[in-house]
Amino acid sequence: MDSLDRLEAETITILREAYRASSKPCMLWSIGKDSTALLWMARKAFLGRVPFPMVLLETFMELPEVYEFRDQLIDDWQLEYFAQICPPESEVDQTLPPATRAAARKTEGLRTMLREQKFDAVMVGIRRDEQAMRAKERVFSPRRIDGTWDVKEQPPEFWGYYTTSVPDGAHLRVHPLLSWTELDIWEYTLRENIPYVPLYLARDGKRYRSLGEKNITVPIDSNAATIEEIIAELRATRVPERAGRTMDNESEASFERLRAGGYM
């Protein structure tokens, strides 16, 4: 058992616990490298099937290559899929900084989906090394109906015992990738030969390190044209992964405010 084997086993265990605890689960799929690796592990956990729908919080602002990749994978892997349309930016908290506001559309979309579809468990591929507030997450995070998160009132979680029960009308946010790093995801993607959006690879000296909507994500300077080269690049770099995500860097508290409101 190497490091990736142990991470994979932990994730599969969490997915099975979430499936067992929930009567109507779903998994968020941003079509990026993390949620696609998570989708791959869901197929492992349920022996080739994915027994719940994959949900895209749809802002119609993803890059064209992302939509193309999505359609291909739905077809190839026979996925149950639906897109939850997010409300326009004019309907979100106007006190947030501009790019943060754009990201908050997804929070609103998620809220609408929970209200209308009554999912009681939502699996999300966030990782602790992405962002300091995400680092404070639990694997199983019970949420109120509006999805809000209180970082000070999280249930204890240890020895693999998770809080899997939620009060009526609330839901569980499940985070099976918290222990993974960006580097782990790429090494795993390479080892397992998992498909990925080609935008991650460099073209003309630029590549997307983190894929967000096109209005709030910018590519980074890079010559990494293969996964092996991405891995080599990550081993050497000290630039944070989300440097190309405008919203993270608007103000010190902007990501915390997003997360408290129920953002992923």
């Binding site: 022996l47 680092a135 204890p156 979680e157 693999g160």
Partner: protein
Amino acid sequence: MDLRVAITGHVDHGKSTLIGRLLYDTGSLADGKAEEILASSERRGLAVEWSFAVDAAQEERDQAITIETTRVWMHYGGRRIVIIDTPGHREFIRNMMSGAADADAGILVIDALEGIADQTYRHAYLLRLLDVPEIIVAVNKIDAVENPEQRFAQISRDIRSVLETAGKPLRAIVPLSARDGDNVVNRSERTAWYSGPTLIDVLVSLHPLAPLSDRPLRFEVADVYRFSDEERISVGNVVAGTLAPGDRVRIAPSGATTRVRGIKRWPEDPSPALAGQAVGLTFDDPVFIDRGDIVTHADRPPLVATTSFDGVFFWLSDAPPRVGETLSIKIGRAEVAVTVIGIDETIDLGILDKVQPDESSKHSAFALRLRAARTVAAETGARCVLLRNGEVVGGGKLSTVEPVSSQRSDNLVPQGHLISSTTRAQRNGYRGLVAWLTGLPGSGKSTIAMAVERELFARGYFVYVLDGDNVRTGLNRDLGFTREGRQENIRRVGEVAALFADAGAIVITGTISPHAADRATARAAAPGAFHEIYVRASVDTCATRDVKGHYAKARAGELPDFTGVSAPYEVPEHPDLLVDTDASTIEASVSSVVEYLIGAATAPEALLSYSI
């Protein structure tokens, strides 16, 4: 595998600062992070606050404390180390536990100025209870004390004796300054008197524990899948040992044996399952297997099937455990209702002394005796958690596990009914239950019990009174009035009442049952269906009534061990219903009991699901 290191210790002893410094000195801070920390520190009028590397929440930065545990990755000498920050405030102990529980090593940070403080003791004890394999002590702020060498020697002696009490070996004690970086990554010239390793030297000498492949097999069943018409696949985790197709196995707690047909993975891979892996199994025989079962090799000693065990639990709730309280326990993937039969010991983790059971306080540890509602497979040393209404309130390890076979007759296999309690309840429109009336002799138990029986019968309920005296003329006529005889009397009444309730009846018992522990035993026989009703009346009122003339005899010294006069009555601390016959009439008491019981028997959740 990354080494996971938890940073623990008393509040303000410099845990987060040490982490920030480790990240900075090892070059693990992302570009821009050091600048962000400087800017954020300056905005708050502080000198460099390295703790902001982990204290990301606004409230944490404003109050300069860690609230929630967090994890960051550190890179050094080709190794990756996960640093787990934990809060030092007493209020956030559950967050400390959540962070430290799966660490490979714990660093206990001690302020050289303040020395050993309350949370130092607590965290030392918790690191032991959590089984964190290695402990390192960092004596921080060593630059700030006079005679640092002497101070270091003294703190080293103190902490060694604390950790000895906590039964924990110590890997190293390092004098350092987190703020200035002395002996963190770089050796300090200011501590020429210290020749031991720097903190990073100690960390890179450690390695994470490997999975337990060479131990006897333990496969914990998490679920059973049956997609479409295919065979049933038991999925779960190999927590120890290895498992190959063709192996003869035994399933605990049922004891059934069979052979492993296949190891199921996707994409297909039939190779043996190793410790640490999550796989699926199929079996040769159509054995009944469910979540919570444990698969072992058939040629090894079987796991103990038990309903009775003791354990030591650290407590995370404001409300301490109570004798007679029904909680739920998770042992591996099994979850079962347990009743607290007794609290043997309360341990205040702040001072590591044993205190009296009734001085129980928040954030202590408790040695509990537990009785489970159904048989589970368990081992001494098993880590488990206790839940109250779905919330984790305690965590700990089992210290003794009593096999079912020694509790009752050998080779006993409980037979499952084909009709569930829920089915019975749904057909009847109400569920069976035990109304356990307790109180002094003459308090009115029998009078109330008989009147309630008549009233419920008139309303169409299947109801029956198990009266203490009546039971003693038949079922319990072999029992005397010694402590043991009385105890056994109550136990039998409890078991019979539980059977009646399971059959769908509303059972009313009227026994003095003066001991809380005996009532807890009766409650454990009917978990979830047991309702303690305290029929209260003063000794004087009872003596005035004295229907059977016993009080007069007792007061004359002719009746030894008479409850209320010559023997104690332990008043129920948290009865489900209190009926005060001093203050209210018999009619009012009867109608309050009737109302309560109908409510309990017909509550919507009572009709949906419960288990006995």
